[in-house]
């Protein structure tokens, strides 16, 4: 009996979940002290959560090149997971920075916001480091359930209620598919360990074309593609992004998307590598559809938040191109692109936080008329982020797209790369239109007062630094992304 306990403990290895453990401790501590905090004051909570994210960042960086395996092979803190953990932490950090003032302004200074962000980040970390479908599932659910609450955080606001409810119903629906896929793969391979599934399938080649394997793969993919917001599983995205509080939207568009990519890459490459011909031809079509539908629909939007939602669908399509290529350049391109996208998209949403009026943060294009002259700093910042989203050098967006399309060309998907570049050209139209409104239109009379506040400004400045650094000297980070491959 004692031997058994010792054996079990040997397998635990807390070092493998250290980053998420620290985050969860901070999250639970925040939940506890929220009880004693005066109502309506969340600044202390936001500072504590920033501290928690910073501590976790240090813990995460120390794990680089020191891979740990824990919990009987259910969790691996390898470089791949660490790279993604850094992305999640940056996303959460920028989000928390811009949230405090926003929550006060909108009249919902609820302390629960911060622990929920930390728990979402911890869930994302489990998705990135999960080497077993069970851990990935648990991470996905921790992430999703916290996000449902965050999306519906503004209880008295119908828009936010609606976002939360839609996200919940469709998210739970997609979880069902994900689980069914897991069950079928478990039935085929007799294990839920991703690498073991891969070994089993390569040892039993005839199982690859078994309908149960194929169905399992498809159902599993549906669950993740939903989270990434790939067409045709993207219908929730615009509604939820538009209705959720702006900082939550910013976080949702970067962190969870990267987490779902991390899990999808690990499962498809390690677990279902034998089926690559099948899934890459499927993802090829989905990537093209996603890019086109995202970009073309974005052209017709008049609400900027909704436009950014469609643009985020299009960006998921670009990143998917790297997964279709499935070679070193393509996959490390996804890692790089997710980091770049985190900076540029959260930056753009941070500008929207400062640009919105109280109680109405859905800026229309008209509302942006003359914005660049009224708020020079915000105008320049927004322009930088829009250039990055377009993929214009020397910004992060250009470097990211370059690596991803280079990966596609290396793998022989010339047409896919051409369609991707063509889509970048389409996207120029709606990104540039925002800038036309900002700089070439007369300001509107009823333009609301924009209150600058240090947290959001710091968040915007950090995002600008990130976008330019990744754009000017992408080599170093790209090297790290290559080292992160398993």
């Amino acid at each position: 009996m004692e031997n058994l306990v010792q054996m079990a403990l040997q397998n635990v290895n807390m070092a493998a979940i250290m980053p998420s453990l620290v985050l969860c401790c901070f999250g639970m501590f925040l939940l506890m002290i929220n009880v004693f905090m005066p109502r309506g004051k969340t600044t202390a909570a936001s500072l504590i959560s920033l501290l928690g994210l910073a501590v976790t960042f240090v813990v995460t960086l120390r794990a680089w090149n020191h891979p740990e395996l824990g919990f009987a092979g259910h969790v691996a803190l390898d470089n791949f997971a660490t790279f993604f953990n850094v992305i999640f932490l940056i996303a959460a950090f920028l989000t928390v920075l811009m949230s405090d003032d926003y929550l006060h302004r909108e009249g919902y200074p609820v302390g629960e916001f911060y622990p929920l962000v930390l728990f979402t980040t911890a869930g994302a970390m489990w998705m990135a480091s999960g080497t077993d479908l069970m851990t990935v599932f648990l991470g996905l659910e921790v992430l999703s359930i916290s996000l449902y609450v965050l999306a519906g955080l503004f209880r008295g606001q119908l828009r936010s209620n609606e976002a939360g409810l839609k996200y919940f119903l469709l998210g739970a629906f997609s979880t069902g598919f994900l689980l069914y896929g897991t069950a079928l793969l478990y039935g085929v391979a007799g294990t839920t360990n991703i690498a073991d599934i891969g070994f089993y399938l390569s040892a039993h080649g005839k199982m690859l074309q078994n309908p149960m394997t194929i169905a399992g793969m498809l159902l599993l993919a549906v669950g993740f593609l939903f989270k990434i917001a790939v067409v045709p599983f993207h219908m929730w995205t615009p509604d939820v992004y538009q209705g959720a509080p702006t900082p939550v939207t910013a976080f949702m568009s970067a962190g969870p998307k990267a987490a779902a990519f991390a899990a999808l890459v690990r499962i498809l490459i390690l677990g279902l590598g034998g089926l690559q011909a099948d899934w890459s031809s499927l993802l090829w079509m989905l990537a093209v559809l996603t890019m086109f539908i995202g970009n073309v629909t974005a052209i017709y939007q008049t609400d900027i938040k909704r436009m950014l939602a469609y643009s985020s669908i299009a960006h998921a399509g670009y990143a998917l191109v790297g997964l279709v290529a499935a070679n070193a350049v393509g996959i490390s391109g996804i890692l790089f692109y997710m980091l770049a996208y985190t900076f540029m998209n959260i930056g753009a949403f941070a500008v929207l936080v400062l640009a919105g009026k109280q109680g109405e943060d859905n800026l229309t294009l008209e509302g942006f008329s003359g914005f660049g002259y009224k708020r020079p700093f915000l105008g320049v910042a927004m322009s930088i982020f829009l250039f990055a989203l377009m993929g214009i050098p020397p910004t992060a967006g250009f470097a990211g797209k370059f690596y991803i399309f280079a990966g596609a060309i290396n793998a022989g998907y010339i047409w896919l790369a051409i369609l991707g570049v063509l889509n970048s050209a389409i996207s120029l139209y709606y990104y540039l239109r925002v800038m036309v409104y900002m700089y070439f239109r007369e300001p509107q009379e009823d333009y609301g007062w924009v209150r600058m506040n240090p947290g959001t400004v710091v968040s915007i400045v950090l995002a600008i630094v990130g976008v330019l650094y990744l754009g000017v000297v992408p080599g170093k980070i790209m090297e790290m992304a290559k080292m992160a491959l398993f």
Partner: protein, 100 residues
Amino acid sequence: MITVGHYLVLSAILFAMGTFGVLTRRNAIVIFMCIELMLNAVNLSFIALSSHLGNMDGQIFVFFVMAVAAAEAAVGLALMITFFRNKETIEVDDVNLLKW
């Protein structure tokens, strides 16, 4: 003789019923019940396969699924209540503020 195949077929039928219900029903709570039906169909598959393979992983997975489903229900019903407070309805056709 009831084999694992029978259980898998039953599970597939239940899952399909759940999916069909989600797509056709209009009341959010009924939709949520259909989602629960899907999850339980998956649980049935897991347990049948687990006993067929002589491997405990599937049964442990079911415990996790049940725990997660309970957490999901708590959050989901709370979201429905806040929506109901503001709009006095829970029909998904009335969830129509946000659209293109």
